[in-house]
Each structure stands twice: as structure tokens, then as C-alpha cells.
Amino acid sequence: MNEEFLNTLGSIIGTATPLVIASLGETITERAGVVNLSLDGSLALAAVTGFAAAWTAQQAGVLDLPAQIGVGIAAAMLVGALIALLVGFSSIKLRRDQVAVGFVLTLLAAELARFLGADYTRIPGPQITRFAIPVLQDVPVLGIVLFQQNVLVYFSYVLMFMIWFWLFRTKGGLALRAIGERPEAAYARGAPVQRLRYWYTFLGGALVGLAGAAYSLNVKPGWSSPPAMQGDGWIALAIVIFGGWHPFRVVLGAYLFAALRAVSGYIQTNGLFIFGQEISFPFVLLNALPWLLMIVTLLIVSGGLTERLLQYMPRAVQRRLRAFLRSDPPRALGARFEAE
């Protein structure tokens, strides 16, 4: 296969990684029944914190590069986890609306990121380096696409399988699904609903923080205002819905968005040729594509239109297609649970 094409696929996988990690983090949070709507702001604040921490470690001159990156990632994960905990605490303990708190935190975190990032704008800092996996990188086709990446990308592969395995193959995962679907039943069977919700909110938030660091230390190095990842938090939230709260489908959604972006970016720099004929139109309009895709995917998975179209299909196809297209949220998503 064409080497250039494979390299492009590889770079799509690379640039999609923060989206993959953030969406997977939100997936487990929502599986537990908590919505962390603060993603867009959390990503920005985690990104700038991670960058600032790594940069400071670099300036100190004591640590080597991997350790600098480690410091940055740890700081970013802490920020993401703390914001998520605040959402969890306000809904579980203080009985506030998750959406309201999450939305306020989105704005607050974004403004904080801008304020704290003012001194770190457009300065070079440490970056995560590429690390090709020996042997695997030489596998034809897949080697170039999947295994000539950096550590975070490899982590995202592992994370996807880990979450899938945990959710559907372990007792702990069963409890996780139960507290998001039927918390009363889970509670009656002895699951510590509130404590588990705190834990998975924390864990999901930490992954969102990691995604933030993946931007500022790798995909969009450094910090600028407005942040390079602005809007991606919302896209990640939509991907979770599109992915039907299933890790494989969520990851597929993230790659789809990244691919669309790569295509529109490619056209904007190189022009569009169809059968050798140059097609010209205002390329700025291509920036609308990810958002149109977001609306379309949500249209498909959330009932309404799909349901009406399905009416025209033969019955046998209907059921299968519906199961494939539609995605149903955890039943207790966003609902409070009070132990009697």
C-alpha cells in the first residue's frame, strides 16, 4: 500500500489520541451514572497545567526528559481528577444538578486556563518523543499505522481493551454498570454506590486530565489562547453518546472525527482534486464539518429520525439495524441516588 497513505493514517491515530483518552474517561464516569460536563474547560486547564509543570521541571534542570513529561502528566491528571471530583461531590453529597455544576466548571476552568497560561503562551517546552515498538513496527501495513507512535498512543490502545475487559468481563465492571443502570438494585446487593461513583468520577477525570496533557505535550505542543483544543471537550462528550457508552465504538468515533479533520485540513492546504479536476470553493467552510458530523451522529443514534426511517425497512432488517445504530444511555445517568 502507498506509504504516504499509511503515514497519514498513522498521524490520524496520533492526533486522535487525546480525544480517545478523554472520551474513554468520560465513558467510565457516565457508566457510573455521573455526567462530567466540564470536559471542554478541564482539557484546557489540564493542558496548561501539564505544560507549565513539565516546563518548570525542564527549567529546573534536574530531571531528564521522561521525568519532566511524567511531572507534567501527573499534574494534568490531578487537575482533571479534582475538577471531576468537584462535579461528583456537588451532585452526590450536595444534591446539585450535575449539568449546572459541570457547565459552570467548563467556563471557570477555561478562564482559569487563560489566566494562568498568560505567562506560558507560545514558548517551547518538553515534548513527548516518538517511540517505535521493536518488531511490531515492522509488521506490514499495521506497523506504520499503529506502532510507530508515542507511549500515550500505545497506552490508549491498552486502555480501550482494559476498559472493555473491566466493564464486561469482571465482577467490578458488573458493579460499575449496575450503579449506572439500577443503583437501587446494586445497593440492595451490597454495592457501595456513592463510593464507587466517586471513584469512577475521579478515575474518568484523571483520564480527561491525561488527555489535556496529550495535547500540550504532544499533539498541539505548548499553550496558546484561545486554546488549540477548544471545542474538543464537547466533541468528546458527543463521541461518548455516539459510541453508546461502549469503549470500542467510542474509540471508533474518536478516530472518525480525527479522520474527518485530517481530510478537511489536507484539502485546505492542498486543494481539492476530483478526477484531476480542481474543485474550488471557500475552504473555510470545511471547518464546519466536525460540527455537522456531531449533529448527524447524534441524529442517527438518538431516535427520532432513525426511528422514522426504520419504519420503511423490512422487519427483519429493522431490528438489527436499530440495535446497531441506536445507543441507549445508562438508565440512572445524571440521576441522584439516596441510600435509604
Binding site: 457516565e30 455526567v35 460536563l37 456537588s90 453529597k93 450536595l94 444534591r95 446539585r96 444538578d97 449539568v99 449546572a100 455544576v101 457547565f103 459552570v104 466548571l105 467556563l107 471557570l108 477555561a110 478562564e111 482559569l112 487563560r114 489566566f115 494562568l116 498568560a118 505567562d119 471545542g231 464537547w234 462528550l237 458527543a238 453518546i241 471557500p282 473555510v284 467552510l285 471547518n287 464546519a288 460540527w291 455537522l292 456531531m294 449533529i295 447524534l298 441524529l299 438518538s302 431516535g303 427520532g304 429520525l305 441507549d328 444511555p329 438508565r331 445517568l333 445524571g334 440521576a335
Partner: protein, 374 residues
């Protein structure tokens, strides 16, 4: 208030979130090596130093109050109209179209102003209608529909500014040419540079919506839909139409707010002309637990912080986002402390004259990611 303990708790919980937000903001300022008192001084002077500055506060207050009034309506119906920012922008686009292509002589300026403002209202309604349609008929949650439509209208505006509407000389993505003067809203005076007609319009909108919400069947229907969609339907409320009407009212007000940005504040169309005012309106309304009465006052305070913050950059070389940080923390702590009060200091029974505000009460009717009919 009959019970002194309850009164003390009430006052304490009014002051605490404000005090904590201010203290945290001060700590933040100290952390970046500045003096919080200087920041207060700069904010104050930036907003109230003279009548010119106060006029500037009104110029933020006008669109902010308009969108906040609109958002009270959508929140009442249990809808999260995050798309309000895009509805402002669509209003600004419609007004900008009219300002460039409807050429009337200076003597008919007032008429043109009214036409442009009406166009802007239509623009806002159009974009709100799309969110409403996606939500009500097609099951796309209004938060995500709204976010996507906000982004789409920004793409459209950048396309227009860098394409069909670009200035004849030095076309760039900075903005269109200044609009012809009959299209622009006039200043009251150079010493008080704001538009009195718009201030009157805001007050009128406030009063009308107040009456509509509290004294009409429509207001009652909104509340019913917001409290419980299913029961409202069973009680015979036309829930779809009621929800859509809430979107349309909010869209119209947001559109008018957007027109003020381009016809007065900037005199041309720029990318992101709405300037985050729609999101700020969401904060205002959340701070007030969706009560309309105090909207103009809180909007004024937020507008003052916003106006004052422009001075931070010049006087102290501090990023103006400090204003947003302060506003965000205020709202966050007010919401959190409502919770602390409710959970840890439940009210005693003899004191029921003022219900505890609970921002989540109207929002619980339905969850954003959950679909109806499931």
C-alpha cells in the same frame, strides 16, 4: 423571618460564597505577584471612573440582560439553551446583512434601526428554531445541538467576513467594513456613549416577560413543562409547542442582543462578535436560580466587572480573563453553598416565607443525555 437562627444562616449563606470567591481570586492575584487592592482599584476605575465608563457598562448590560431574560424563559421550560451564544451571533449576522444592503437615507435612520433590530430578532429565532427542532422532533439534546450550532455560525461568520463581505481594501479575517452611519445605533452623547432606545427596550422586555411568566397561561405551561414533561403532557399542555415557544422567545432576545454588538459596540461584523455574553448570561441565570426579578441587577454587576477588566491589561498587565474567573467562582460557590445549606442546615418548619432557592429544581425534569420516551 421569625426564627433568628434561620435568619443568621440565611445571611451567612448569602455572604459566604461571595467572600470565598473574592478570597480565592485575591489569592490567585497574589500568586501571580500582584496586589489584589490594585486589581480592585483598576476594576472600579475601569467601570465607574466617569460617565463614559458607565456608558460602557451599559453597553455590556444591554445584551447581557437581554440574553439572561431569554434564558430565564428556556430554563423555566427545563431547557439548557447553550446555543444562546450562536443565536446572538446569528442575530448579529442578520443585522449585518441588513446594515450593508438596506440602504436608507440618514433621515430614515430610526426606521432602519427598527428594521435591523427586527431582522436580528428573526435571525436569533431562526437559529433557536433549529436547536428546538433538533431537540423536540429529532431527539438531539439541546446542549449538544446548541454547541454545534454555536460553532457553525462562527464558521459562517468567518466565511462571510473573509469572503463575500470582506472590506474592499486589505481584506482579512478581522472584520467587515464599518457599516453606513444610518444603520448604526446612535450614541446618547459622547460623554454617555450608550443607546437609550435599547435600554428602554431591555426594560420593556423585562417587564413583558415578567408578566408573561407570572400572569399568563403560557407562563404556567412553561413551568409545567419544566417541572415534569410527562405530567404536563397528561394535563393537556401542548408540550412541544410550549418548548419551541421558549426557544423562540430566547432566540429573539439573544438576536437583538447580538445586533447591539455589531450596530453599536463594534460598528461592523467581527468574528466572535457575541463575545461570550451568551455564556455569561447562563451564569447570571444560574446564579439567580432562574429568578427573573434580580436579573437586571446581577447583569449590571457582571457587566461592570467585564468593563472594568479591560483596564487590568492596560494598568496592571494582567490578563482580563480574571473577570471570568471571578464570575465563574461566584456562581460555582453560590450553587455549592445552596447545597451545603440544604443538606447540613435544613430549615426549621416555622419559617416558610422564602423558599430555599435551588438551581437544580427546574433542571431536573429531564436529563441532557437522556432521551424522552425511554
Amino acid at each position: 423571618m421569625k426564627n433568628p437562627r434561620n435568619l443568621a444562616i440565611q445571611i451567612g449563606f448569602l455572604i459566604l460564597p461571595i467572600a470565598i470567591s473574592l478570597a480565592l481570586a485575591a489569592a490567585l492575584v497574589i500568586a501571580v505577584g500582584r496586589d489584589p487592592l490594585e486589581v480592585v482599584d483598576a476594576l472600579w476605575k475601569g467601570a465607574f471612573k466617569d460617565t463614559r465608563k458607565i456608558g460602557g457598562v451599559f453597553n455590556f448590560w444591554i445584551p447581557l440582560t437581554l440574553v439572561s431574560i431569554g434564558l430565564v424563559v428556556t430554563f423555566r421550560a427545563g431547557l439548557w439553551n447553550i446555543g444562546v451564544e450562536g443565536q446572538m451571533m446569528m442575530g448579529a449576522l442578520f443585522a449585518s446583512w441588513g446594515a450593508q444592503y438596506l440602504l436608507l437615507p440618514e433621515s430614515l435612520s430610526s426606521l432602519l434601526n427598527v428594521i435591523l433590530i427586527s431582522l436580528a430578532a428573526l435571525g436569533g429565532m431562526f437559529w433557536a428554531f433549529v436547536v428546538g427542532l433538533l431537540k423536540i422532533r429529532l431527539g438531539v439534546n439541546e446542549i449538544f445541538g446548541g454547541v454545534a450550532l454555536n460553532a457553525l455560525v462562527n464558521v459562517i461568520s468567518i466565511y462571510l467576513i473573509s469572503g463575500p463581505w470582506q472590506p474592499r481594501i486589505g481584506g482579512s479575517a478581522q472584520g467587515t467594513e464599518p457599516f453606513p452611519s444610518p444603520a448604526l445605533l446612535p450614541e446618547f452623547s459622547s460623554r454617555f456613549p450608550t443607546n437609550l432606545f435599547m435600554i428602554a427596550l431591555v426594560i420593556a422586555a423585562f417587564l413583558i416577560v415578567m408578566v408573561m411568566l407570572n400572569a399568563t397561561r403560557w407562563g404556567l405551561n412553561l413551568k409545567a413543562v419544566g417541572a415534569n414533561m410527562r405530567s404536563a403532557l397528561l394535563l393537556g399542555v401542548a408540550t412541544e409547542r410550549t418548548s419551541m415557544s421558549a426557544f423562540l422567545v430566547c432566540g429573539a432576545l439573544a438576536g437583538i442582543g447580538g445586533s447591539y454588538r455589531v450596530l453599536f459596540t463594534f460598528d461592523n461584523l467581527r468574528p466572535l462578535a457575541s463575545g461570550g455574553i451568551g455564556f455569561l448570561g447562563l451564569l447570571v441565570v444560574l446564579l439567580l436560580s432562574i429568578r427573573l426579578l434580580w436579573v437586571p441587577l446581577i447583569a449590571f454587576a457582571f457587566a461592570a466587572i467585564l468593563t472594568g477588566s479591560t483596564r487590568l491589561q492596560i494598568a496592571l498587565k494582567l490578563d482580563s480573563s480574571l473577570a471570568g474567573v471571578l464570575q465563574g467562582m461566584l456562581v460555582l460557590f453560590v450553587i455549592l453553598f445552596h447545597g451545603v445549606q440544604e443538606v447540613f442546615f435544613p430549615r426549621t418548619l416555622d419559617d416558610e416565607d422564602t423558599p430555599t432557592p435551588d438551581p437544580s429544581r427546574h433542571l431536573n425534569g429531564e436529563h441532557p443525555i437522556k432521551r424522552e420516551g425511554q
